[in-house]
């Protein structure tokens, strides 16, 4: 087979491949099955909870970033599987406008949570949640429950219970593809008590 003919076959294969899987001049587009279309997303209710240093954390402070909001507890086995994944995602994506925020639902508060996050060397911010916070997010009961929040502060995906690492990675990758339009910083987000997401 001649060289021009081989080149033609190769070029055709590339074109067919692009048609089937999609091509772009930059990175390949990721479409996560669990991420809702933009028009179906509801605002993530704001909250003010304290971190380990006693500093008040408002969710609205994260506007402009993709946020993985994880409700968890030290007594939750499935949560322990996911936390290392979130640590890895935090490391990989922090510079791309991504943050993990853990909301620990332990009744004992930092007394129980601090040793745990120290043991696991959790590299993202953790706050202590309460029933009111859980209620804001539709009455979180099963743990882990994880919300993916887009750059505009809207809930793009909800995962209840242990979820595959790939689901999280694909969801975050898709949301990070959307360029920032929101102005970073606090903004008023309506809190809808008991709303289901």
């Amino acid at each position: 087979m001649s060289l021009p003919r081989l080149s033609l076959i190769f070029a055709t294969a590339v074109l067919v491949g692009c048609f089937v899987s999609g091509c772009s001049s930059s990175t390949r587009s990721v479409k996560a099955a669990s991420v809702k279309p933009d028009k179906e997303r509801k605002p993530a209710p704001d909250f003010a909870l304290k971190d380990a240093d006693g500093k008040v954390v408002h969710l609205a402070d994260y506007r402009g970033k993709v946020v993985l909001l994880d409700f968890w507890a030290t007594w939750c086995g499935p949560c322990k599987i996911e936390i290392p994944w979130f640590m890895e995602m935090q490391r990989k994506n922090k510079d791309k406008g991504f943050e993990v925020l853990g909301v620990a639902m332990d009744d004992e508060g930092w007394e129980a949570v601090k040793p745990f996050v120290t043991d696991l060397r959790v590299n993202y911010r953790v706050v202590i949640g309460n029933d009111a916070t859980a209620e804001l997010y539709g009455g979180v009961d099963a743990l882990p429950t994880t919300f993916l929040i887009d750059r505009e502060g809207k809930i793009a995906a909800v995962h209840v219970g242990l979820t595959s690492k790939k689901d999280f990675e694909d969801g975050v990758a898709e949301l990070l593809q959307t360029p920032t339009t929101a102005v970073p910083g606090r903004a008023a987000v309506p809190a809808i008590i008991g709303a289901k997401y």
């Binding site: 007594w75 086995g77 639902m105 009744d107 129980a112 099963a142 743990l143 209840v160």
Partner: protein, 146 residues
Amino acid sequence: MLLFLPLSAQNTKQYLTIGELPKVAGKRSAAVQARIPVTVQMGFHVNSNAPKDEYLIPLKLTWKSTGVLEAGQVVYPKPSLEKYEFAESPLSVYTGAFELVTNFKVAANAPAGPGVAAGQLRYQACNDRACFPPKTIEINLPYQVQ
């Protein structure tokens, strides 16, 4: 003679239920036994009284006030070791139906008549993908000294 009447418990959203106790009779100074039937909802498990992981919340029966009964040791059943997707090693858990036994002794000077022993059962349940906040069931155990 001591008479144990059916146990009452106030259940809200529970993953574990307390069954009815058989009637038990005993005398003053007698050792008597309360066998509390417990059932964990199908598809769920609760940590045993001695989970292997220090962060897990054990099942625990605590008697808060027992009247003329002197509360002895609570005897927990042998747990089973179950492997779940979310844990690297098998967990020490209870599933299905089991009994919690408490050995009481009736006070030597107990007056004849009825009474109630009050206790709490604390547990924490999970299924194979998620865990649920710890719950407490109030237990009111009526008894009769005869």
